[in-house]
Amino acid sequence: MYIRILLNYILGYVNIRIEGYFVEKFVNICISKGIFLWNIKKVKQATAYANIGIRDFKKISKIAKNTKCRISIQSKKGLPFISNKYRKRKVFAILLIAVIICIICLSNFVWNIDITGNATISKEEILNSLEENGLKIGVFKSKIDTKQIVNNMRLKRNDLAWIGIKVEGTNVIVKVVEADKKPEIINEEEYCNIVATKEGIIVKVNALNGTPLVKEGDTIKKGSVLIGGFLEGKYTGTRYVHANGSVYAKVWYTQKEKIELKQLNKIRTGVNESKYSVKINNFQINFYKTLSKFENYDTIEEIKKMKIFSNFYLPIEVIKNTNYEQTFENKEYSIEEAKTIGEEKAKQALENTIPNKEDILNTYINYNETPEAVEVEVIYEILEEISAKEKIVF
């Protein structure tokens, strides 16, 4: 029953007023002829209101004539009438269609490129090489051949191990995995020396091929030859070979930190102000004119890309500049405090540079105190392989 009413709503229905002394008769004939009436309300002695579908409304006039009822339409409801109402508003309809067409057209272009997974290679660099291969903001989506781009990128750039390009709506997500730089591989048949990559004291020389030129306890400089790529024989004379082997040495890493005893610290007061601007493609509109009212402040810029739906990005950005007010505070450290802070800082910095923490043999810490500051020097002694192959140039 409700389905029938719902169907009538879609097809359209009218609310009619029936006037006459034989409303019952009219209703009975309607029902017997299969005309569906609903919400019949009798208001006065001779008037009633009822709902009827527009298809059945045409048949009704004959019945009304027979039963001597007068029928007038009170209100028209349903989708056909709504659409009819807007048919007269041509500009509205045209613009609505234009907007829809616009959205469909715009959704065929790329409006946003996201790059994830890059650590050392800058975003601009990747964007530039993507542009060379025909993927940039504003390009037609169907023209993008992701396989081709990936292949080209991988051929041109050897610092990328893997690239994935995914098109989602107007959004392109580029995932990048950076490759570790490969050492230069020297052909087995070519002659080479083994040289030191770092300064240090030799601990162990392990020559597989060639003549060792250094022994344990020797202090060597960076670049000096450790294993020569030649062999000397009594009868054969000097013969050049492809030197092979490994040399271990004690290497020192040092880090100096200077800690001022009197320091000026920046502290946020908690007061902030926000300024907005809109960037359309490369054209920026600022919604503010004045400079910041704070004397000292920190500015944080937030960029938000506009989008419709979940992944339809538009070339419009909203930029929010937030200024945080700051005050300066003097802080004095005691010598002991400064020492520990410096030590921690230096150690932290060192541990980021050394490859393996377990190779540390010794740590030395030196302090240098002056009236204004404390200098802390941390030295790590590390056992490391320092050998690298170098071609012999004749």
Partner: protein, 95 residues
Amino acid sequence: MKEKRRRQKQTRLERVLEIPKEISSSEPKITIIGFNEMLIENYKGILEYQEFYIRISTHIGILNINGFNLNLTEMTSDDILITGKIETVDFEEIQ
């Protein structure tokens, strides 16, 4: 008398098959939900309709409904739904 016997036979068969009465016979089924909704199945037609008084003819007699603001909410050839404040319902059986 003859007709009555035929009807009784039918009901016996139907009792075995468990066919609902309102389907097999032309007797009306009247359902009253709360005080302001009434569904009548198997009716013949409307005899009189006023805001306060509805007279419905069925195959076995006439049904009178008294109340206020009575609406014929849904009407098909088989059933009729009356909403509004129903006060009394009475029947006039055809002799």
